[in-house]
Amino acid sequence: MAIDIFDKYASIEDRHRALLGIGGDPFGVKVDRIISATEALIDGRHTILVGTNNYLGLTFQPECVAAAKAALDTDGTGTTGSRIANGTYDRHTSLEAAFARFFNRQKAIVFTTGYQANLATICGLAGPDDFILADADSHASIWDGTRLSPAETVVFRHNDPEHLDRRLTRLEGKGQCKLVIVEGLYSMLGDTAPLAEFVEVKKKHGAWLMVDEAHSFGVYGAHGRGVAEAQGVEEDVDFIVGTFSKSLGASGGFAVANHPKFDLLRLASRPYMFSASPSPATMASVAEALHQIELRPELRTRIWANAEQLHSGLAALGFHLSAPLSPIIAIRMPDEATAVMAWNRLIESGVYVNLALPGGTPNGACLLRCSVSAAHEPAQIATVLGRFAALASELDSRRQAA
């Protein structure tokens, strides 16, 4: 008999089936109705969302919604193609100008997804004779960008500037340009990069530095420009990449730089050249969201207060947290079965968090990953903590019974 084309996924299928045997599907949650930035109806149950990366809670911001509606009326539902084929709308240009202004940089390019922003920037920047040096905990979109690039990719240990230094020393005299890629805030564990130290290493070796601020944009730094701003090293970061889908409450991505030739990516980077451009409604809501971030610094005050409430509350319950305070709070579970059971208890009690398992996590970690929003009310976080307290005692009694 001919081999089924899906046979190669047998082990994935088995693992997923085992997961479903324990309860609901953590990777296929059906949202019956989204109610607000922090609440949804899931499986008929009123659920508090603590895993959406909706950091500033702008998805229902009236000004953003109104801007998107107006854009639908004036510019229609889509651009129906790439900018090299279908042209650049005023909105593309003005949104790029808004990002350049926000970051005090000369150049900005917008993309249709955050994933694509990394693909396009990485494979656009790193050519056949170059080297890419990527942090071991990088997001899948960074790895996929390195696969699209003809450059050789070398990995260094997570958040380890000294290891990067050794790597760059070993590559001395080889290839042409070296592009170092790190993230500002890492999405799984919620730890931040020591950018100042990475900057020292990149300067020592004359390398280029790209920082993905997908999770830190809007949250870190006095103006919300990310971890590079918070650590005072923006001038030495050559390229910053980010997403519309977290703090900006839409979907899409951006890259900013000061290099005068950055726009060449528009003629050289295939993910940019061959993707339909962002839709008018998306660009309109993002432009307004960017304005809201400038206008309302209290959003950052609020998300940090919420993060502190959840982080300290979970620590007090005895949970093992994977990083110091950040809006991403990942709880380490002892093993996959416990993690899946705990995730199910939470969703059944009306709390949605992310289940993160090896393959998608560093060091084989099994995580219940929470992310807080500026839109959470302290009372919601207190409710969430109450449900985590019930989970903690169940885990305790299981441990004692074992």
Binding site: V155, R167, R170, N363
Partner: protein, 80 residues
């Protein structure tokens, strides 16, 4: 060095083989040892540091067996 690499990598692999399965050149890294792409990266970095070489990630995706890994590392070592 190249002669040692097979023995050294085999020794290293034991740490990625907590169940103590019998392993050899034909053992599949993903299917037999259940090493996912993230853990494979740790393994690669260990080999790189041990032999002071750079193994291009672009070629790691094509590795299936321990033998493939040994051949890749030996090839890189020979070139340096």
């Amino acid at each position: 060095m190249v002669e040692n690499i097979e023995a050294e990598i085999m020794a290293l692999m034991q740490r990625y083989n907590p169940e103590g399965k019998p392993i050899g050149r034909t053992t599949e890294i993903g299917a037999d040892l259940n090493i996912d792409s993230v853990a494979a990266m740790d393994l690669i970095m260990e080999i790189e540091d041990k032999f002071d070489i750079d193994i291009p990630m672009n070629q790691v995706g094509e590795l299936r067996t321990i033998g493939d890994l040994i051949d890749l590392a030996a090839g890189v070592l020979q070139k340096t």
